[in-house]
């Protein structure tokens, strides 16, 4: 009996430790958001930006923090190591298209893990004292456009990550160069500095590329710093990018898989 009790205690401890790590992660999210808000408040004290108002920016920061796990460019570890260590051969035996399997696997993992992380912020942030809080969406239309843009953004990110998975077939390793691409993607996606605050040239450059369409656009639509009309055009661009990335991705994957060599095992 004692044996089972201690086993039970062990399991419970493991579960509780996951809880501490979840709570720790939550704290970190809130800390980051509040710190960024404090910095922006200090900037706005002297000059305000023409592109985005302070309350809009604060909503942007909260939403970005809430959905960060979903729209960040971190790859699916399982798929990554599968390609690197050769276990991909099992996947190739299955009678499914590997590109779309990756696509939906990444999507599912990001959505299931990421939405859980967004809940605490979405519940707490609107009720923080005025000046720190997440505002209501700019309007019903904006909110609907936000949801559409967010859904497309998640798909777009999965498509971008698929490009990365394919590239491992060519480079054989994901280290080194990937950290450069990752930083560039974060930068162009507006994680280092919101795209609305970049100089004009960089703004137009960033919105041509898929990274900001995935990681920045939805949150600007929500707060109304991008009007509904422009939002429509950007959403169209999201769809075009998604089509371009997935179609070229499937073609390249199929071509590459004909040549793939699994070494040993």
């Amino acid at each position: 009996m004692k044996k089972y009790l201690s086993f039970f205690k062990l399991r419970l401890n493991i579960a509780l430790q996951y809880r501490t790590s979840a709570i720790a992660g939550m704290f970190t999210q809130f800390f980051w958001a509040i710190m960024q808000i404090l910095i922006f408040q200090a900037f706005y004290k002297v000059v305000t930006s023409d592109n985005i108002s302070l309350p809009q920016l604060i909503s942007y920061v909260w939403l970005k923090q809430a959905f960060y796990a979903i729209i960040s460019a971190s790859p699916d570890q399982e798929i990554k190591s599968m390609i690197e260590n050769g276990n991909i051969s099992y996947e190739l035996c299955k009678p499914t298209n590997i590109y779309w399997m990756w696509f939906f696997k990444t999507l599912a993992n990001k959505v299931s893990g990421g939405f859980l992380k967004s809940i605490p912020i979405l519940i707490v942030a609107p009720f923080l004292p005025y000046g720190l809080n997440l505002q209501a969406p700019a309007g019903a239309l904006e909110f609907i456009l936000f949801l559409i843009a967010l859904a497309l953004a998640i798909c777009l990110m999965a498509a971008i990550l698929n490009v990365f998975y394919i590239s491992i077939f060519y480079t054989m390793t994901s280290k080194g160069t990937y950290s450069i691409f990752y930083a560039a993607m974060e930068f162009l996606g507006g994680t280092f500095v919101p795209i609305a605050l970049m100089p004009d040239f960089w703004q137009s450059l960033c919105y041509m590329l898929p990274f900001s369409l995935a990681a920045d656009l939805p949150f600007r639509i929500y707060s109304g710093s991008i009007g509904a009309g422009d939002a429509g055009i950007f959403i169209l661009m999201q769809i075009v990018w998604l089509a371009v990335l997935t179609i070229s991705g499937t073609i390249i994957t199929n071509r590459r898989l004909k040549k793939v060599v699994i070494q040993g095992g």
Binding site: L38, F43, M198
Partner: protein, 258 residues
Amino acid sequence: MRVYFKTILMLIKMQLEYRKAFIISVIGSFFVTFLLTLSVYFLFEEFNQIGDWSFFEVAFLFGMVYFTFSMSEMFFRGLDHFANIVKSGEFDRILIRPQNALIQSMCMEFDFSKIGRIAQSILVMIIAIANINIEWTMYKFIVFILMNIGCIAIFFGIFVLKAAFCFWTVDGLEFMNILSEGGKKVAQYPIDIYAKWFRIFFTFIVPFGLVNYYPVLYLFGKDSNWFYGIVPIFAFIFLIPCLLIWKKGIKHYESTGS
């Protein structure tokens, strides 16, 4: 201490063996910091100033924080990744050897590629200093050195703290990133821009304010009180509780087996 440097030297040589991978990661770490610098520049392009601080003044702080953080990350990396040492049972081996456990853990790892980041941050600091009117005196030079050492000391303290927590649990360490990564971000800006409760935390609990805000006031001639210059010394007090917790942690340590 001699053992520490000898091990570090070996680790450097080891990394230089893989030349191509090494060069790519140096370029990578240079590039990432460059993008971060560019981000700060963009913000000042849009807003001109933060509080009454100009771009170059903030760039100086940015350079200093990244310089000291990268130095700490390079030299104390073993502590940063201490969870792995505990998980793999490697720490048992450390404990049997007749050397200080802390120093041994420190040199378990050494990431020489951070040199790219260090180069970038020194460059930023130099450009910033060249564009700020500082009347250099011997004392101000000492203040400058003290600031850097103080800042490294705080990061060291944080790393020790993070490592010490591994003796109790290896989960939930993300929380400690608030202190290291968060502190890095906080200290990029002079702390007088933040809300009061935030300022108090980062002056009296984790004393980043003591190594950047106050000495910089004196350094830039914003305040002529010479006492602000030696304030970084008090940052070392932060190390005392960190090392005590580490000591306590070692006593608490139970091997993971295997």
